[in-house]
Amino acid sequence: MIRIPHPTSALLQAPPAPEAAQVVESLRLALLVAYLQSELYTRAIAATGFIASAEATVFTTLNAHETQHISRLTQLIAARGGPALARPTFDFTAKGALPGFAFAAGQYDTFRLLAQAFEDLGVRAYKGQVQALVADEPALNVALAIHSVEARHAAELRRLRGKKAWITGSSLDDVPTFLQAVYGGEELTTQGTVNLAAALAATGGAEAASQAFDEPLGAAQVTAIVALFTV
């Protein structure tokens, strides 16, 4: 009796071509952001004595998670026959916006600031792809499961830095202005047709209304932000 290899469940559930191509594009965008984050943590951990010992476990956790995200996304892309995405070469001086940044003594605060911005970016980047992934539920669920972990990461980093875990308005706070695009658009206080600033007039108002909902970023915006850090 001939045994016919059984196709993987991922292949069985692969959607028709146009949607499948979009799914692969979404996964590759997510992978690009995961590479950016992973590279930041990997370089920081490799710089001996750079990370404050009290916060070492945070960054080893973040690094381990991003490694797993890269693995998950790479597998999903491959299972859908998508083209591999190589890890870009990153430059964390951001083409001169952060001159001399090299994970060196005295630059720890800048590193944590970048980490926060990259995780807040991650939340928005995955969120921007969720609608495109609904045609492929296994991929959708992986993206959602990573998306909310990115939000956990962002919250932890913001709290490490003495900031609120949620984003108020489109405030950069102390994030440099060249990263304004990471926070632009977060200021919405009306969701759908519901004016939440008014609904919450006595319980936090517009600030709470903007904090309560994170906003998506489109692929072009995300790519442009990542490109600030690639050679």
Partner: protein
């Protein structure tokens, strides 16, 4: 009779007939409802809360002792939004109780600011869903936090952690049932804020435990409902619930 159930029994929470509830409810069962089974010796305040009305508000009803609240999944997205509205009402009620109790609790000033923000966010989620649902969102659940001592920081944060982690898994598992792209995006906008809450609460309870896994849970509505029921006087029920569910990376949802 106390502790008359064999150890390790994990029967469903008795729902419906109050006499049935009383007949099978052991102290251990009660504690399991608030997620603290096995910790009796270390948490005398919980035991007394179980035995007496003294430390809980008189309005704390028995879970599942009220009227049926049935969500009909044949309504499509409306049902999924109603399901989310149940969750958000429970969360909003919980944090409102927390904030109301600040005056007599040992929750720090810094934590009070955080918990007030979270209360406001849950109100925003609730009001958004109400607005989106219109007449279909015109229902009010009766929540119950029987056994949670709102004067005790650890008890409040422990219950909050459970609610937030469950909320994340619930939204993650509900998206696959939505058909409207706008609703898909709305759920994604909310779930990341729930995750920010979860990480924050976890950090307050035990620093560095903000993300227990590289991928969050993705839970089917029935699994979520079984836990949410412990905080609902209403008898939560589903009709025409979808049989199919696509698991997330952690499986077990």
């Amino acid at each position: 009779m106390i502790d008359d159930k064999p150890a390790g029994t994990s029967s469903p929470i008795p729902i419906g007939n109050l006499d049935d509830w009383r007949s099978v409810a052991s102290r251990r069962t009660f504690l399991r409802l608030v997620g603290l089974g096995g910790a009796i010796a270390l948490l005398p305040s919980f035991v007394s809360a179980c035995d007496s009305e003294a430390t809980t508000a008189p309005t704390d009803g028995f879970a599942g002792s009220g009227d049926a609240l049935v969500i009909d999944f044949a309504q499509g997205d409306v049902a999924i939004l109603q399901y989310a509205l149940v969750l958000e009402q429970v969360e909003a009620d919980f944090y409102s109780r927390v904030v109301t109790g600040f005056g007599t609790s040992n929750i720090t000033t810094a934590e009070q600011a955080i918990l007030t923000d979270i209360r406001n966010h849950e109100l925003a989620h609730r009001e958004f869903l109400r607005g989106a649902l219109g007449a279909d969102g015109d229902f009010t659940i009766t929540s119950t936090f029987r056994g949670v001592s709102f004067t005790d920081r650890a008890a409040v944060l422990g219950a909050a952690r459970s609610l937030e982690d469950l909320g994340v898994a619930a939204y993650n598992g509900a998206v696959q049932y939505l058909t409207s792209p706008a609703n898909v995006l709305s759920f994604a906008k909310i779930v990341s804020v729930e995750a920010r809450h979860a990480a924050t609460i976890r950090d307050l309870l035990e620093p560095r435990t903000f993300a227990p896994s590289a991928t969050d849970d993705v839970f089917r509505p029935a699994k979520v409902a079984a836990t949410v029921q412990t905080n609902l006087v209403d008898k939560l029920g589903f009709s025409n619930a979808p049989a199919a569910f696509t698991q997330g990376p952690n499986e077990g949802g």
